[in-house]
């Protein structure tokens, strides 16, 4: 089972979190982790705990905000949302990734 999954690529988790928040709006840590797992179609082996240092990292950079709120099941949870600089960051990071992906694609294309 494990060998078919790939580990989260270094540096991609941040962009995944930002895109998730862009798509879903404010969300708690568990929600973000589950969403990433779902979107990746369970091909990604995400250690859910790693989401929290990543969230803290993004918050320290000012790309996301957090506030305590109530979950859909009436639980006190911390909700994360994108900040203005976070939105800008998504654009930049996306461009970066597209460039890298395109470059990689050229290498991988049959010659």
């Amino acid at each position: 089972m494990g060998e078919s999954k790939s580990d989260v690529l270094q540096g991609t988790l941040d962009l995944m979190v930002l895109k998730t928040l862009e798509a879903m709006g404010p969300l708690h840590g568990y929600g973000i982790a589950r969403r990433i797992e779902q979107v990746s179609g369970d091909t990604l082996s995400l250690n859910q705990g790693t989401i929290y240092p990543a969230l803290l990292r993004l918050e320290q950079r000012g790309w996301i905000h957090s506030e305590w709120g109530t979950s859909e099941t009436n639980r006190r949870a911390k909700f994360y949302s994108l900040s203005r600089t976070g939105r800008k960051q998504i654009e930049m990071e996306t461009e970066n990734w597209e460039r890298v992906a395109a470059t990689m694609a050229r290498f991988l294309a049959p010659s």
């Binding site: 708690h28 840590g29 568990y30 929600g31 982790a33 589950r34 250690n47 859910q48 705990g49 790693t50 929290y52 240092p53 803290l56 990292r57 918050e59 320290q60 950079r61 000012g62 979950s71 099941t73 639980r75 006190r76 949870a77 911390k78």
Partner: protein
């Protein structure tokens, strides 16, 4: 930008870690709950749901650790942990901690005290604006590098120079202050108007001396010191314009000089009164060739170097010499930076002492390092556990360094106490030896220094033990009952003992050489007997100002007779010229039969002692040939002089000086005949006798002084008195006799001749006392250190000793074994110490007096002392080793 933000946020989180921890806990709890709910919904059992949730999270503890690493600054966290651990460890070993902290506190305190002295005297800028541009000025002549400036020359210098933004001159004088309580002698300085402004002095009240005050014919004005204002005027605010009676004349007070103004150069002291220099009305003031004890100060223009100023002055002096060949032939200007003038003499002393106290600190470090090392052997199991649990070597070193830094800082804080007391004790000990003593204190720079050496100390003594300890092999250390300390520990400890011995010996050699120098100095014959002699200044009542010379002479005769009649007083003499070790005075002359030299500057000089017939007996100067003065050598008799042996040899080599005659410049129409030859007196202190190559000494009778001189003496007389019995009683009798003669006749500035002699070697004595104290401290530290190390080594070898004894070794054998080990280390240390001592004491060469830096007696003496102390320090552990019960020792093994 983002990184900065991250850093700030990380730092901020350091201060609220507890709240953030609980927030994270809550967040994770919520995460797991949500996961469990989802798993339950998908049909898992409650237990399975929980396990799966925890697994997909990746472990609670790991997540928390990961999160904390992101959140704070890991090294700060680690440091705080180490610090907490260090505090606990040190608290658990109060004995060790106490010894270590006290040892270091003494070392750091000594260094702080010494540094605060060095800082105050050498490093602090002078307390004047732009002090680097301040210089002192004097006039140089063929024989005199630092002679008096003549006022007309000064005016020309001031006018012609292009190097100084300002130049000023001053002449010391003294006034009798009357009309305000008991009459009093006050010290005065006649100054040119620029004098105080050059030094940036601002008056406390009123104004300084203006150029107009210095014009001939202007009204008499003075500035008074804050001290005089408080003492004599009760610090009344409306002092300005009030008059003060000095030498019987009224002066208007124009300002008050604050008490914090000090100018510590040899030719200037703190004065009570400052008057415009033209107020000194003696016609000699305007004579170009006159030497009246005037010295100058100057402020260089910005950017002008000393060399440029010297060249500038040289050119001016050449043109002065051309214009006034008689008076100014061969004159020059000596320019010296003011700071150098203030501290030049003591710089080397202080640096040597700072070096010595640095050695003491090094010794304290070695001591604590060896304590730590010995202790770390006992702690090796702890380090092994830590290493086994995954602590890296660097992490263990960091932990140990935290401990030693903590010790260092604690010691530094505690060391401020001995530093404070030490500085005060040093100042009390010998303030005379230290210029700028009032500027010594614990200021910001001193505290920074203490902090720095505390940290440095912590690293210094912590590094080797930390390094050694981190090498512990966890496997062998954890093995049951194994010996924990390896040979490398023992080698390091042995090195420490050797280093301690060597450092201590260097200090002992330094102190020993100083003590030898001082003993030599005390044995120097000053040429007179300072015991039971005191001297004081005497100023006649103001009505003697301008009195006839006959009246003044009669008054001095009456004073001498009155004082001499006091029981316990065995001799009284005026001393108007030089006094040994207390000021100098000189005269020009040429020999009978020689042509009078064209310029005064080509004449010969002698130091003049203008005295009464009793003087020789009072000072107990040996009479070698002929006779001294008698009362018959008075103003009506032919002029007579008595010369010292140096004069006789210098000017009449191979002849009999007695009967020869010389021309005295101040009295040149008469010839003075030599009637006696006496021994040479060490004029400038015990340690030097060739200042300004002016050594020839001549005695002149007071009563034969020319009338012009007699007219000046009422305000400037010194008296020497020989007494029997109690000094206090003799002095009090003199005082009361003086009061009976006149309420306005003032006695001031009393000093014993012995204190004058000992002041002349004050700096050396200061250095000796401190070096001696440092050396004794070092000896004590070394003793403790050697004892500690030997005791530790013995305890480590208890089992081995037990086996030896079980195999038949005698007590004596064991004793010899341990002592020999100590002796070997001591001998190596002594060898190294002598080697480095010889190199280090080179720097002391100029502080020594008739003792070679290689003095074999000193080297042998201190080496033996150190070996003896080391032997004693080894003896206790050795005896303990010898009393080991073999059975007991083997059982504990």
């Amino acid at each position: 930008m983002d990184t900065l933000r991250t850093l700030l946020s990380r730092i901020a989180s350091l201060f609220r870690s507890r709240r953030l921890d609980s927030e994270l806990d809550e967040e994770l709890r919520c995460h797991i709950d949500l996961a469990v709910e989802e798993n339950l919904a998908s049909g898992m059992s409650r237990k399975q749901a929980r396990t799966t949730a925890l697994r997909s999270l990746g472990g609670l503890a790991q997540t928390q650790a990961l999160y904390r690493t992101q959140r704070g600054l890991p090294w700060v966290d680690a440091m705080m942990q180490d610090l907490g651990f260090a505090v606990r460890t040190l608290r658990k070993n109060p004995g060790f901690t106490l010894v270590a902290v006290l040892t270091l506190a003494l070392g750091i305190g000594g260094n702080t005290a010494m540094f605060s002295i060095v800082n105050g005297v050498l490093l602090n800028p002078l307390p004047f604006p732009e002090p680097d541009r301040l210089v002192t000025l004097s006039e140089s002549k063929a024989n005199f590098a630092r002679g008096s400036i003549s006022y007309p020359n000064f005016l020309d210098w001031q006018k012609e120079n292009r190097s100084f933004s300002a130049m000023a001159t001053a002449r010391f004088s003294a006034f009798s202050l009357t009309g305000r309580g008991e009459a009093e002698q006050v010290e005065a300085e006649f100054v040119s108007p620029d004098f105080l402004p050059i030094l940036g002095v601002r008056p406390l009240l009123g104004r300084l001396i203006a150029a107009a005050d210095n014009e001939a014919g202007s009204g008499p004005v003075v500035l008074i010191s804050e001290g005089l204002w408080r003492r004599k005027f009760d610090a009344v605010p409306n002092i300005l314009g009030q008059s003060i009676t000095l030498d019987g004349r009224d002066f208007a007070i124009i300002g008050v000089i604050p008490a914090n103004f000090h100018l510590r150069v040899p030719s200037f002291r703190d004065r009570d009164v400052y008057a415009p220099i033209r107020r000194w009305t003696n016609p000699l003031l305007m004579e170009r060739g006159a030497g009246l004890g005037m010295h100058g100060i100057g402020r260089l223009k910005p950017g002008v170097t000393l060399e440029q100023a010297r060249a500038d002055m040289e050119q001016i002096n050449r043109s002065l010499a051309a214009t006034y060949p008689d008076a100014d032939h061969g004159i020059g200007t000596t320019i010296i930076p003011m700071k150098e003038e203030m501290v030049g003499d003591v710089r080397l002393f202080l640096l040597v002492l700072l070096g010595a106290v640095g050695f003491v600190l090094l010794l304290a470090c070695v001591n604590v390092a060896s304590l730590l090392l010995a202790r770390s052997a006992a702690r090796s199991r702890e380090f092994a556990v830590r290493t086994a649990l995954g602590a890296s070597r660097g992490r263990v070193i960091q932990q140990l360094l935290t401990e030693s830094l903590l010790l260092g800082i604690a010691a530094g804080a505690l060391g401020l106490l001995p530093a404070f007391w030490g500085t005060r004790a040093a100042l009390k000990l010998l303030p005379a030896a230290l210029p700028r003593a009032e500027e010594i204190g614990l200021d910001f720079r001193v505290l920074a220094f203490t902090t720095a050496i505390s940290l440095l100390t912590g690293v210094l003594f912590g590094l080797i033990p930390a390094f050694k300890s981190s090498q512990t092999n966890p496997h062998s250390a954890l093995k049951e009952g194994s010996r924990s300390s390896g040979g490398s520990h023992h080698r390091a400890l042995a090195t420490f003992v050797v280093a301690e011995m060597a450092i201590t010996l260097v200090l002992l050699i330094g102190a020993g050489l100083m003590i030898r120098s001082l003993t030599q100095l005390w044995n120097v014959d000053p040429g007179f007997n300072p015991r039971n002699v005191f001297t004081f200044g005497l100023s006649l009542p103001p009505n003697f100002e301008g009195a006839s010379p006959a009246k003044i002479r009669a008054e001095f005769r009456a004073i001498n007779d009155r004082f001499a009649s006091i029981p316990g007083v065995t001799g009284v003499s005026q001393a108007w010229g030089a006094l040994p070790m207390n000021g100098e005075d000189d005269q020009l002359f040429w020999l009978e039969g020689q042509p009078k030299p064209k310029s005064q500057n080509d004449m010969s000089w002698f130091i003049d002692y203008i005295v009464d017939p009793d003087y020789l007996r009072i000072m107990q100067i040996p009479l070698q040939r002929g006779r001294f003065f008698t009362r018959q050598d008075d103003e009506h008799a032919p002029l007579v002089i008595v010369v010292d042996e140096v004069f006789a040899q210098k000017f009449f080599p191979g002849q009999d000086a007695i009967g020869k005659r010389i021309h005295l410049v101040y009295n040149s129409d008469k010839l003075a005949q030599i009637v006696g030859v006496v021994g040479h007196v060490k004029q400038w202190g015990l340690s030097s006798d060739d200042k300004q190559s002016l050594r020839a000494q001549v005695y002149l009778p007071c009563m034969q002084m020319p009338d012009a001189f007699i007219a000046m003496s009422p305000s400037a007389s010194s008296v020497v008195v020989r007494y029997e019995g109690s000094l206090a009683r003799a002095y009090e009798s003199i005082r009361s006799a003086n009061r009976q003669m006149s309420a306005q006749q003032v006695i001031y500035g009393d000093q014993t001749m012995e204190s004058l002699v000992s002041d002349s070697i004050a700096e050396r004595r200061f250095a000796m006392i401190l070096l001696g104290a440092f050396a004794m401290l070092a000896l004590l530290l070394a003793c403790i250190g050697i004892y500690g190390v030997m005791a530790y080594l013995v305890s480590q070898r208890t089992a081995e000793i037990g086996i030896r004894m079980a195999l038949g070794a005698q007590r004596g054998d064991v004793l010899a074994l341990v002592l020999w080990r100590g002796a070997r280390l001591a001998l190596i240390g002594v060898g190294l110490g002598i080697g480095s001592g010889l190199a280090v004491t080179q720097f002391m060469r100029s502080l020594l007096f008739e003792v070679s830096p290689y003095d074999p007696a000193t080297l042998a003496g201190v080496s033996l002392l150190l070996i003896a102390v080391a032997f004693l320090a080894c003896l206790i552990p050795a005896r303990r080793a010898a009393s080991v019960d073999p059975m007991q020792a083997l059982r504990t093994e």
